[in-house]
Symmetry: C3
Subunit: 266 residues, 3 copies
């Protein structure tokens, strides 16, 4: 099951897959730019009249519930089903699940009606979906620093997905196996939407290996975390870090990735 971030990044840059994203208003520009910087092609489309056509033509579909409304939920379900029918992998970011009933119910509905390959969230969001108690303030997870590996495995089994629980250390699991990724930098927590960016990266990586969602999810977090480390080097705060993050993704050197990956598989 071992991961191969360098090889996947090379494939991604070669194939430039289209990643269809139905995501929130706050981060649309940012996740599109992450997608471009890593080497894929983003497209944002949310109208019910076009999402099926767009999702079917994509390499991956990313659903993100960060700023919900009823019309968008219907579009997500339609797009998800079309992606399923076309064999296009679906990644879900359950932003704020646990913070309001509406978000929790929507995330559950998407998981019930769409065959989701990967769920990427923080500990509180994933715990909520796995039926555990979680402490959340708005869309931020509080406290849940430990137990991420167990949580990822539990959620993966309970939901029948690959679960990626991100935090100071990220944990990705398909149920039995767990891959832990310790790359990253604390400045990632000072910019809004870095979780959503990690989800977009996951869409990019799974688009070039739809049959390996576990590896794709872990590789995306390795690449994103290393880019965060690179961006932090010359950052003077969240603003220059944010700009530097796109530079770092664009300049990621595949040759150095596998050595720099701080990964534990078990």
């Amino acid at each position: 099951m071992s991961i191969a971030t360098a090889a996947s990044l090379r494939a991604l840059r070669e194939q430039k897959p289209l990643v269809h994203q139905i995501t929130n208003y706050v981060v649309m520009n940012e996740t599109a730019n992450v997608t471009l910087a890593i080497g894929a092609l983003p497209v944002m489309a949310h109208a019910r009249r076009e999402v099926e056509e767009m999702a079917s033509a994509a390499g991956a579909l990313v659903l993100n519930i960060g700023t919900l409304s009823d019309d968008w939920i219907e579009a997500m379900v339609l797009a998800g089903k079309a992606a399923n029918a076309a064999g296009v992998p679906v990644v879900l970011d359950p932003v704020g699940a646990g913070a309001t009933r509406y978000r929790t119910e929507t995330a559950r509905r998407l998981l019930a009606e769409v065959d989701v390959a990967i769920v990427r969230g923080n500990a509180a969001e994933i715990a909520t979906l796995a039926g555990r108690k979680a402490e959340i303030r708005g869309v931020e997870s509080l406290g849940a620093g430990d137990g991420g590996a167990e949580l990822a495995a539990l959620a993966a089994s309970a939901l029948g997905v690959v679960a990626a629980v991100t935090g100071p250390v990220d944990h990705v699991s398909s149920g039995g196996e767990v891959i832990s990724v310790a790359n990253g930098h604390e400045l990632l927590g000072t910019v809004t939407g870095t979780g959503c960016m990690a989800t977009a990266m996951t869409g990019c990586f799974v688009a070039v290996q739809p049959d390996r969602p576990l590896q794709a999810a872990a590789e995306a977090l390795v690449a994103f975390g290393i880019a965060g480390e690179d961006a932090a080097r010359s950052a003077k705060g969240p603003g220059t870090f944010h700009a530097g993050l796109y530079d770092a993704l664009y300049n990621l050197d595949p040759d150095a990735l596998d050595e720099r990956a701080r990964v534990r598989e078990r």
Copy 2:
């Protein structure tokens, strides 16, 4: 009534209040990043099915009418009433009031149906709401450089709020008293949404002192203005200024704030 920006900033960073923002599409990412950079937690949610739950759980609610539509207005009213019921202070940014009838009427409706603690706008927007004639082009105030102090006092009395009129010099009033803030930098006028950012900052500061809206509004403008001064130092134009603004907010040194504040209270 004297303001204490340093103490409030320390409280804000300690308490990390949740600031629920129903704001416009143009600035969502930016006001979320300002909120994070200063030390609070942003959450954007606009669905009628969740705004009451979210607003009730927040430390402050920010309503911003920059890109309106009917659904969003209904959500703002619902959120505002829920915030009122929960004792959560409400901050209103009447973007473009005076530019179209729709915006003017919406700002007036929100003021009528919701107990608003603070209104933050430019001179033309505040003058429109106070029943004065104003010159506005799109969402920019033209001309009204002088008379801000009187306008703030007039609007505060007429509307029963704390009024914050921002411009080259900002004026904040609860009716009788006026606090003037001369911090800031002209580059703030070259980046879209810096007014909306000032409003988000106001939400952050009032969240930790809901009973002192006058001081909170002035302190937010002091802190934001000083960050603007810091960001201008190494900026080469609006782009690097914009990135530097988040760095500056994040790196604001409370120990220096009260000395650097260019405030006149009367």
Copy 3:
């Protein structure tokens, strides 16, 4: 017909025209900042209840179909007709025409119901509207590097507009004449929304010379391309390039523009 970018930029900075933009969620902040950086005033408004009033008061109206939904299309039609009635030039960006039927049909409907002065798009989008076969992935044009001049002339004649086809070299035509612009930098392709920014720039330039849409479209691309060249000089990747682009637009020196323009008119 010769273009005069320097003179137009000076007029733009002097007049600060209001540019009303009904555009997509991904780039709203970015096109607003481009508009401000070059010296005009942006306003975003999409509600049916206010677009006619806003468009009538503007110097130009920009319609961009990057993230469509039915309500927004109706608003675009209303705004376009109001702009027509008021003599306000309309610029259309048919983002993703050819990628889904919904986008193609919407672009065609806008061209049928609104008197559009300038259409700015990539080769695939313009080819789709001109009735040619095009290869598009999401909203990116593939392959169509050559033949831009002929395509621009063909589309201009077929659609009765000024057509601006952007790519490594841009081609602008009113049917007979073609102006080619070779300014720009490949980093423009690494940031999302640079096409939309070029369209916003077009709106700014036509606002100060509504009777010269051909020249305005070419001048906008000259100015934007030169800013891209300037921004690339100190960029380390897409993030610093993006920030630098606003700096470069803001700092554009009119005295150097006409000499730096890489333009061929025929």
